[in-house]
Amino acid sequence: MILILEQLLNGLQYGVMLFLMAAGLTLIFGIMGVINLAHGSLFMVGAYAGTLAAAETGSFWLGIPVALITAAVVGFAIEALVIRRLYARDHLDQVLATFALILLFNQAITWGIGRQPVFIAIPETLSAPVELLPGLFYPPYRLVIIAAGLLVAYGLYLLINRTRIGMLVRAGATNRDMVRALGVDIRLLYTIVFGLGALLAGFAGYMSGPISAVQVGMGEQILLATFVVVVVGGVGSIKGAFVAGILLGVVDTMLRAFLPGILRGMMPADQADALGIGIASMGIYLLMALVLLVRPKGLFAAGG
């Protein structure tokens, strides 16, 4: 029981991370109509920038603004140099150009920093496990991630539903051409949305640093899962990204934690482990296929 609760929390933490990534990606998809494979690179850039800054200054917390700012600046640069030329192109060109960006970022980091993973310690104040329930000890750092993610979700909710920019974002996700026809400076809106997405990706990247190593290729791992979240939740829907992110995060974590154990009852241990991890890795894709077969536009598609 304790174990299940612990894994549920882990799943929630992973889900929140997926949401941070998916929120930006779904807006870029929904509003700008651009498939951005390089979103994972922004995740990686944030992680590297923050981690290096933290190593330099010795303070974990100083890494956060550095990660945010670097990711946002790189995001603005990508938008201005590459993405802006892709708005009018078809999905194929977008996939290829942003795939080229992945190659560029991965190689640039290998070149500049090296292939070795960079490690960052959890800040000391958050390293001692706390007892949530009798017998359930849990690392507070993961709790902080969950709290920060939920806070960001609430902030996004306010931004999207209560501000003028949010109104334009909602309008853009529903009907891009109509918004432009009404005289809104859509280009500025695009830049803001892309920058916001980059900021969130950088934040997610830095926060995940102490849990998993900061290394080249970390972006692609989470990128594919993020795409699944975006598509399951419905392109352009923040609410969908939140629900699907948490759902898939929990499902993925639970499968990974418990499936090998269940299979061990039926076959030799090493085979059970391999098969269990294999099926667990398939889990989110299977879920996406099922959701799309029932609802081809995802759970909460914007714009119908």
């Binding site: 590459v82 190659l103 795409f227 085979q271």
Partner: protein
């Protein structure tokens, strides 16, 4: 004037094709002089990958279906060869009923059939969606297949299957690189001829019509879903053929063939050469593999330069290398007229 120039063009095409056939037949003798074994192996790989890229282009360029999951069919083709070989050497039947074999004339049709069946299942489900969702669902299915084979410890898991000997074919000495090249060239030629006929058939015309305006084609009485599904299955079969040839050439089948970056690489080859043109994927594959080989020899960071070139092609040229060449040819002819 226009018919004259068209006749001129088709004559030019015929001459170019005849020239290409002569060059391809002579390749081993040319590489023998200039590049040796590595050049021959590069050209063999170009032939094999161009089958896969042309198959992808069939759904991508002619049918307008952006599939990011074609590595699944490529990989399955390779695994069919690998699995049949393992059971041939073990002398145990696969899944209790299917006997293993090392005969190319059995493994190739088997690979094509299995990948076609897989494409039928994936296509039937994926084609219910469109746009971004189609891209993602094809990727999702390919990932499932990838993880399935990674977790199959009985068949090497992540390490894949080593096919100790290339499949036997008509009693030829398949260990000889030269023989293998000509066998692969033969399969390549048959495939390209079939594809050429297919694209020019009424089916190919309908498919191109679907890409331009699906609703209008539906109004003309062609059911889009069914036509697109046929195209998807044919495309999957082509990739299966390529995968089976690759497993024979490398004597190795691994999850690497199924990885999503392989799908992206195939897509890159198509785009580099020119989407929706017959010769585009050939040019693109050759350009991609030559670049990869040359850059990798020069620098450890070859992917960086590949990325830059890819970006320049996508942003800078419309229609890839094929369009560039066509524009160049048109410029020369206009100069003459």
């Amino acid at each position: 004037m226009s018919t004259q120039s068209q006749e001129f063009k088709s004559l030019g095409l015929k001459v170019a094709v005849a020239l290409a056939i002569v060059v391809l037949l002579a390749v081993p003798f040319i590489t023998d002089i200039v590049g040796g074994n590595s050049a021959l192996s590069l050209i063999t790989r170009i032939l094999i990958y161009s089958i896969a890229a042309a198959s992808l282009n069939f759904v991508l360029g002619y049918g307008g279906m952006i599939s990011l999951g074609h590595a699944a069919f490529f990989g399955i083709g390779g695994y069919v060869v690998g699995l049949l070989f393992v059971h041939y050497t073990d002398e145990t039947p696969l899944m209790g009923v299917i006997p293993g074999t090392n005969q190319l004339l059995i493994t190739i049709p088997a690979a094509i059939a299995v990948s076609g069946l897989l494409a039928l299942i994936i296509g039937a489900l994926s084609l219910r969606t469109g746009g971004v969702q189609f891209i993602m669902i094809t990727l999702a299915f390919a990932q499932m297949i990838f993880f399935f084979f990674v977790s199959l410890k009985a068949y090497g898991g992540e390490d894949g299957i080593i096919v100790r000997r290339t499949n036997e074919f008509l009693g030829l000495n398949m260990r000889d690189r030269l023989t293998l090249y000509y066998v692969i060239l033969g399969f390549w030629a048959v495939f390209m001829l079939a594809l050429w006929r297919l694209i020019r058939s009424s089916f190919g015309t309908v498919l191109r019509g679907m890409k331009q305006n699906e609703r209008r084609m539906a109004a003309l009485g062609f059911a889009p879903y069914r036509y697109k599904l046929y195209a998807f299955v044919l495309s999957g079969m082509g990739c299966g053929l390529a995968g089976a040839l690759m497993a024979n050439f490398l004597r190795f089948a691994s999850p690497d063939m199924l990885h999503w970056t392989k799908s992206a690489a195939l897509m890159t080859m198509v785009i580099l050469g020119g989407v929706g043109s017959f010769f585009g994927p050939l040019l693109g594959t050759a350009a991609y593999l030559v670049l990869e080989t040359e850059l990798a020899a020069l620098t450890e960071y070859w992917q960086f330069w590949l990325g830059l070139i890819l970006m320049a092609v996508v942003l800078g040229t419309r229609g890839g290398l094929n369009a560039l060449i066509a524009r160049g040819v048109a410029l020369i002819f206009r100069g003459r007229a």
